[in-house]
Symmetry: C2
Subunit: 156 residues, 2 copies
DNA sequence: ACATACAGAACTAAATTAGTACTGTATCTC
DNA sequence: GAGATACAGTACTAATTTAGTTCTGTATGT
């Protein structure tokens, strides 16, 4: 299934939960609120903190808070922090990961799709996730595809 | 890493390869052309055939061909055939897969993002992959996000 | 001083992915 | 119609990744 890891999903839930409370929150409370096991929450918060998305405070009354406003933290950053680079295929992210790179006809296009996907997730922020979203009517060839043109006959 | 499985990637390469040759192609030739091991190619072609994207022909001079024109086969279908449903998170695809569904604040939005992602990949076809694509300048809040509006204050 | 809470590292178990092997059946060629 | 070719189907194994745990250490507020 083409989807995020469970842990990354938890991470997004945790980040949203932190964003919704102005005060510092510790791992135990976040675990209770999210229903995710404490050791797992702890591990995720450490990783998010290590990536600079959260600021940690030790000691009693310690906890975590966002390093920036929710509007300035993209979903792409959260994903990047917890499961590494975003891409459509491995070869479009990790150079040299595939033996047939030179001859592969699809690789160049995979890279284009990856960039479109990344761009979309960079424009989606934690601030967006905090409010209910809705899907506008999908026009044919909209979305990712709208940002991709065919070189031959494309609109440029 | 948020990306397709290797096998799905191979599958897309194989489908593109088949699309580029009008005549029937057998598993052995496709394996040679793609550099993917024959047993793996064989398995993938079976799955794609089973999902109705390829038509198979037995016997000597047999092989596989596309069941429809490349313009009528979406990348979403290929992914769906090889790794199941497309989604952003598991809970937005498989109902009841998460214990905290009722209380989760993010789930509804995950579903919206999933639909946007799915819509984008449904509009991207094998025909597109056969030609070199290029990325148009990414405008702020374009792509997936452009199809999502915030209920409060959204453009509707 | 002491309890609290994060930091870091190492480890285990479960699940998924990737790849293989083998038997069966349809079909074309000669 | 005999035989080679090539797909169909199933079951299996190995490798990798993901998920979750445990333990020791260190900073900080009361």
């Amino acid at each position: 299934m083409f989807r995020l890891n469970k842990l990354t999903d938890y991470g997004i839930v945790l980040m949203t939960s932190i964003a919704q409370h102005p005060e510092l929150q510790n791992a135990r409370d976040l675990a209770a609120a999210s229903q995710v096991p404490l050791p797992t929450v702890s591990k995720l918060l450490k990783e998010l903190s290590h990536s600079g998305l959260l600021v940690s405070h030790r000691g009693s009354k310690g906890g975590y808070s966002l390093s920036r406003s929710p509007q300035q933290i993209s979903v792409a950053e959260i994903i990047g922090a917890l499961e590494g680079p975003i891409g459509f295929t491995e070869c479009s992210v990790v150079a040299g990961s595939c033996d047939l790179e030179p001859s592969c006809l699809v690789r160049r296009n995979s890279k284009v799709i990856s960039l479109a996907l990344l761009g979309a997730l960079e424009n989606l922020t934690l601030g967006d996730l905090m409010q209910p979203m809705e899907l506008a009517g999908l026009k044919p060839r909209s979305n990712i595809v709208s940002t991709i043109n065919l070189i031959s006959g494309g609109v440029q």
